[in-house]
Symmetry: C2
Subunit: 187 residues, 2 copies
DNA sequence: TGATTTGTTCATTTTTATTTGAACAAACCG
DNA sequence: CGGTTTGTTCAAATAAAAATGAACAAATCA
């Protein structure tokens, strides 16, 4: 499974236009459950997460009591496999917690709205490692560029080297801003 | 085309393991061009952008002079269509600029490393509108929950209403942090 | 212990996104 | 003008991601 921040796809706009011309009807009234699911589906899609993950969270978010997996499957009409994978992911993010209900063997899930924890988890586990990896790769790129500059003895590559060094500064800046944002969220 | 922040996909890990067992060989030496392309491909994929966009930017980033579209097509072995669409996207992000070279009719492209402008553009055009939309949707969700609470007269939904209000606070926080980050990047 | 319930895994299917390339338009050239 | 170069668009092909569901394992029960 994968997390990202998304733009609408190349041809998505065209599809939308065609859809509205074809006269797609939207339901006039929306229930709380439907509204919540829709909201979280589009939210998780910003981060490139599967729709099913948003559906599950949206359902749990407006549920008055924790739900068992088979209840989620039934409410959403998704497969057991998707539920299991989606819940595993959401637990991993710290976005849902599970508890036992006396006299019921099933695991029961509820939405956790500790956004600060979720974001921190995302930054630490997803963003930070990528930035760390990027740092060492940039070093290698700089090395290659400087090598070329020497070999050729020319000034042609000087601009490239400067550009790489500028990017390194931005890389560092990016890494510095993460703990700042986390601190601000926890405040 | 669509932008997001990505996790690796559900089955991606398995594929990796299979690959290493099959003994995929990596080239021992990497050129500057290759290293730069790889770097930016994985970078843009964090944001859910197509690989071709990263390839194009990576190539332009280490090019000593601006390149015409047919040169990009030739270097990368991608189609004219992908180049055109990718360059349009990158121009839209403010990540590449184009210029005319005297005596040559073709448009020439070069990488722009004004990261602050790119990030600002992303926040303003992608993130902010989504958050604005989210705000009004949350209001509707709250209304529906309060309606239910009244109808049933019960206290069952009280927890849900509280949860929605908590989420609204986080929504506001999210919207506040954007200008802060932008200001910090511009500093 | 054997039957039943609960939950996970992963090959296959389905859905969605990206790339291609041919058709087209627009600008330039002689 | 007609021919050529440059660049865009979009239907179709390809590639990638997500969902399904059957097979399996593990826990509980009677």
């Amino acid at each position: 499974m994968a997390v990202a921040c998304r733009f609408p796809s190349y041809q998505a706009v065209l599809v939308k236009i065609k859809g509205s011309l074809a006269g797609e009807e939207q339901p006039e009234t929306t229930s709380l459950k439907e509204a919540s699911i829709e909201y979280f589906v589009s939210f998780v899609q910003i981060f490139g997460l599967p729709k099913s993950v948003g559906q599950i969270y949206g359902l749990l978010f407006v549920s008055v009591r924790p739900l068992a997996m088979d209840e989620i499957v039934e409410h959403l009409g998704i497969s057991k496999g998707s539920s299991s994978q989606g819940l595993t992911l959401l637990k991993g993010l710290g976005a849902v917690a599970s508890e036992q209900i006396p006299g019921d063997r099933r695991e029961h899930f509820k939405a956790d709205i500790n956004v600060s924890r979720i974001v921190t988890h995302f930054f630490d586990n997803q963003l930070q490692p990528r930035l760390d990896n990027g740092e060492s790769r940039l070093k290698e790129i700089l090395r290659l560029a400087q090598e070329l500059e020497q070999e050729e003895g020319g000034t042609e590559n000087a601009g490239v080297v400067t550009r790489i060094k500028a990017l390194q500064k931005w890389q560092k800046r990016g890494m510095n801003i993460i703990p700042m944002v986390i601190r601000w969220l926890k405040r």
